[in-house]
């Protein structure tokens, strides 16, 4: 083992049916360091954490801990905890109706009798030493989320952990609370605890971490000391694009045909939502394909959800073809000819137990009205037409959609919104988690729709997909629109520099 290391993972492999979740991943955590684990969705961060904490058994590789010469086998989260590996998850997993002290010691008292006075004393001392502003006898639920998070950390620390895993601990905290959490993390670092910090906030990584390990598509990209890895480089490593690679040339599409002087199909001014995005202006013209880009959590999905009325809209004006309209709920948007394919297919897209047919006609049916159902034959005809058009692989239109593969489910949802015949189609991550063949099909479809005169907003985490399809990109960071790129600016370097911000060259 490397000197100073508390944890070494070598050649970790993990496979799920049909998916290679981790392939030969190495990870080293040293004493007294804060180590960021970075990667986009599906990169394997959480799988690695779950292997480390014994939630998943590993399919290959070995894990070594400081103080034991042999590789360890971690079979359950309980075992991981006994070996000194503690995890604090994004959602608080404590009991809000117990006191702070009870939460810290629950499940760890020995024997039938418990000396609660002693425990309260111990808890008080520990909270003091960590500078956590909570009283032992206070009910946990009455503390702020940040303090609850800290209590969870205190519990972990008191179990004499050598490795502390913080899985997106800051996503529900405000700035001051994050500051407090960081102070606690630095204190623990002084005490020699190794901390693994999983987050998608770039700023926070650069504020508190010493090292960064980047994963992509289940493989290790590399381990870097923070000073050696500028932000732009980090973004390019996460997205898998070489920053200096200038090879991308925008394909000559029909972008010249777009009349930017015409009245936009959709135009929003100072549109504000309640989901943490700053008010933004946005417009799209006939036949245009544009995109929202930014890292995960930058607010790109929240923007399009605000456009569709999926989340509560709190202000701003919306014009469609020059006429002022009100879009407060999805049905308003649909009636104005806007379609929205949501990011989370499982949660917001499919209606799992319903047949492929019902899933296809759903949106159009709702627009037609409650008292005017399509006849069986009509619905059948619609479904068959689109199953053929998008070559959806399904046993029949009667099959429940949940038994289809991810790519085919996505095509069904796409069929639903194409059937609704929108003038403006929003596709949020339509290509996520589906095979490469279907991805290309969807991209082609987007360009074809634009050529037919529809406006499309296309969002993808894969930048080259965006460059290939979009003629204009809105770049977002931390809930703000930070730039708009079009024409010659649409290249990897410029996009990544804008995403990373701060030190763009």
């Amino acid at each position: 083992m490397e000197t100073g290391a508390v944890l070494e993972m070598r050649g970790i492999c993990k496979y799920f049916p049909g998916v290679r979740a981790l392939e030969q991943v190495d990870f080293t955590l040293r004493e007294g360091e804060i180590h960021a684990l970075m990667g986009e969705n599906g990169a394997g961060k959480s799988t690695l954490i779950k292997v480390l904490t014994g939630v998943y058994p590993k399919d290959g590789g070995e894990i070594r801990l400081k103080g034991s010469d042999k590789p360890v086998h971690i079979r359950s989260p309980q075992e991981a905890q006994n070996m000194g590996i503690s995890t604090v998850y994004q959602e608080i997993t404590l009991c809000p109706n117990l006191t702070v002290a009870e939460n810290m010691y629950i499940g760890r008292t020995k024997g039938p009798l418990t000396n609660w006075r002693k425990i309260n004393n111990d808890a008080g001392k520990l909270l003091d030493s960590l500078g956590i502003p909570a009283l032992p006898a206070q009910q946990l639920g009455s503390c702020s989320i940040a303090v609850q998070q800290m209590v969870a950390i205190a519990r972990a620390v008191d179990m004499e952990c050598k490795v502390l895993i913080l899985d997106e601990p800051t996503s529900s905290l405000d700035e001051q609370e994050v500051e407090k959490l960081f102070k606690l993390m630095r204190d623990l670092k002084e005490k020699g605890v190794g901390i693994i910090f999983v987050t998608h906030f770039l700023e926070q990584v650069y504020e508190v971490c010493d090292r960064i390990t980047v994963l992509r598509d289940g493989t290790l990209v590399g381990e870097y000391v923070i000073e050696d890895l500028p932000r732009v480089q980090l973004v390019s490593k996460m997205l898998g694009k070489d920053f200096d690679d200038m090879a991308d040339i925008k394909s000559e599409s029909d972008t010249d045909k777009i009349d930017y002087n015409s009245t936009p199909v959709y135009e929003a001014k100072k549109l504000a939502g309640t989901t943490g995005i700053k008010p933004f202006d946005f417009s799209i013209h006939k036949g245009e394909v544009n995109g929202f880009t930014g890292l995960l959590g930058s607010g790109r999905s929240e923007c399009v959800r605000a456009i569709f009325g999926a989340d509560k809209v709190s202000g701003g004006t919306v014009m469609m073809n020059g006429k002022k309209v009100k879009i407060n709920k999805p049905l308003d948007a649909m009636k104005n000819g806007i379609s929205y394919l949501p990011e989370d297919r499982k949660r917001d897209g499919i209606v799992g137990d319903l047949s492929v047919r019902d899933n296809i006609i759903l949106a159009l049916q709702v627009m037609k009205g409650f008292f005017r159902p399509f006849s069986r034959a009509q619905a059948e005809a619609f479904a068959d037409e689109y199953i053929k058009l998008l070559s959806i692989k399904t046993a029949s239109s009667e099959t429940p959609i949940k038994s289809l593969s991810g790519g085919n489910q996505q095509k069904v949802i796409l069929a639903r919104w194409l059937l609704a015949n929108p003038v403006y189609l929003i596709l949020d991550e339509p290509t996520r988690g589906i095979d490469i063949g279907t991805k290309v099909e969807i991209q082609k479809l987007v360009l074809k729709l634009a050529a037919e005169g529809k406006s499309v907003t296309f969002i993808s985490s894969e930048i080259d997909e965006m460059i290939r399809t979009c003629s204009r990109l809105v770049v977002m960071r931390d809930g703000k629109v930070v730039g708009e790129l079009s024409g010659n600016d649409l290249n990897q370097n410029k996009i990544m520099a804008t995403i990373a911000g701060g030190e763009s060259k």
Binding site: P330, M334, R347, V351, G352, L354, D358, V366, F371
Partner: protein, 372 residues
């Protein structure tokens, strides 16, 4: 192999496929349960199925027999099952207040007909007016439950617990805790039979309700909407459906069903007993939905299966009564049968049976090959 043999084999295979298909159908369990009950009664005592044309005390022709009793008595349950199925589908929960709400509906009918005098010589208004007012009141209570569930996001069972607890007192309060009796025989027509028509009226009322719901399901999107909301309310919302309105609507529809069922119940006796009327019927109504193989967690539903479920429950009760099972012991017997049926219709068991059948078929096929 000769062609005739081939044909035979093909026929055999298609028959087993047909059988397999039937077993997988949602209707299979309730229909099979009904058939088993029929068979049991046939073996034990074929006279169970005898239907006689007799005359009642007024000298009008009436059909009598256990079968008629079953179909008659199951009417209220079948009507409730319609509404309960919709509520279950959209909200993923059940309304446990329907028994108490029926007491309210019945009490309203009597109050409107009697006015201030609990023993009137003549009814104060026409029966149809009393019925419509009861429907209105029931819809309001349904709306109350629906509001708690849809807009305040309270679990259906907890939300309806309120009316479950308070309903019978409200029913008593409506009639100032008196026990009104209606002597006019025409009021009894709806719960018993109309002179000259040998079948009990509740049967016709239940059939009318079934026709209405069939028409509603055919000519509106109620099925699609409530199923979508029950399966995935978030994605339904993004498709323009208002999940809260749909849930609310199903509770209001259940309110109408409750009013009809309550009306039949008071008409049967021409009076009301607040603490006993329609007691525990909510559990039977929920059971009917479950027996129909519908998931009590919401989503897809099969209305026919629920209704058949209601008749199965009544069939079972009547059979037990007929065999002189002590009335206090009936619930225990019912429970045993219900456990068997519910376990059999559980998806996990059905899946297991499916794979078992496949295995059996395969091993049979292998044996056939070896012989050949």
């Amino acid at each position: 192999m000769s062609t005739s043999q081939k044909d035979l084999k093909l026929k055999k295979r298609s028959f087993s496929a047909f059988l397999g298909n039937m077993v997988r159908q949602q209707l299979f369990i309730p229909v099979a349960a009904l058939l088993i009950l029929v068979l049991f009664n046939l073996i034990m005592d074929p006279s169970f199925f005898k239907i006689e044309l007799g005359h009642n005390s007024a000298g009008d022709p009436v059909l009598s027999g256990y079968l008629i009793t079953i179909i008659d008595y199951a009417s209220e349950l079948a009507i409730l099952a319609i509404g309960m199925t919709l509520v279950t589908s959209a909200s993923g929960g059940q309304d446990i207040s329907v028994g108490a709400a029926m007491a309210i509906a019945g009490s309203v009918v009597l109050r409107v007909l009697c006015g201030n005098n609990p023993r009137p010589e003549h009814m104060q208004t026409s029966i149809i007016v009393a019925f419509l007012i009861a429907v209105l009141v029931s819809m309001c209570f349904g709306a109350f439950n629906g509001m708690l569930v849809a807009f305040f996001k309270i679990q259906p069972m907890v939300a309806t617990l309120i009316l479950y607890t308070a309903g019978r007192s409200i029913a008593a309060w409506i009639n100032k805790n008196k026990l009104p009796v209606i002597s006019d025989p025409s009021f009894g027509y709806f719960g018993n039979s109309i002179p000259g028509i040998p079948l009990p009226t509740p049967i016709f009322i239940a059939v009318i309700c079934m026709i209405i719901i069939a028409v509603v399901l055919k000519f509106t999107n109620l099925r699609l909407y409530s199923q979508s909301v029950g399966i995935n309310s978030s994605s339904s919302r993004l498709n323009g459906i208002n999940p809260q309105m749909v849930k609310f609507l199903t509770f209001v529809i259940l309110g109408v069903c409750v009013a009809v069922a309550g009306f039949i119940k008071v008409s049967r006796l021409s009076t009301i007993n607040y603490s006993v009327i329609a007691k525990d019927i909510e559990m039977d109504a929920i059971l009917a939905v479950a027996l129909g193989g519908n998931s009590l967690g919401g989503g897809k539903f099969n209305m026919k299966a629920s209704i058949i479920g209601a008749y199965v429950i009544q069939f079972l009760t009547t059979t037990l009564t007929k065999f002189k099972v002590n009335s206090t012991a009936i619930p225990a017997y019912k429970a045993v049968v219900v456990i068997i049926l519910v376990v059999l219709s559980a998806p996990i068991v059905r899946e297991k049976m499916g794979t078992l059948r496949k295995k059996l078929a395969r091993s049979k096929g292998n044996v056939g090959k070896e012989v050949a």
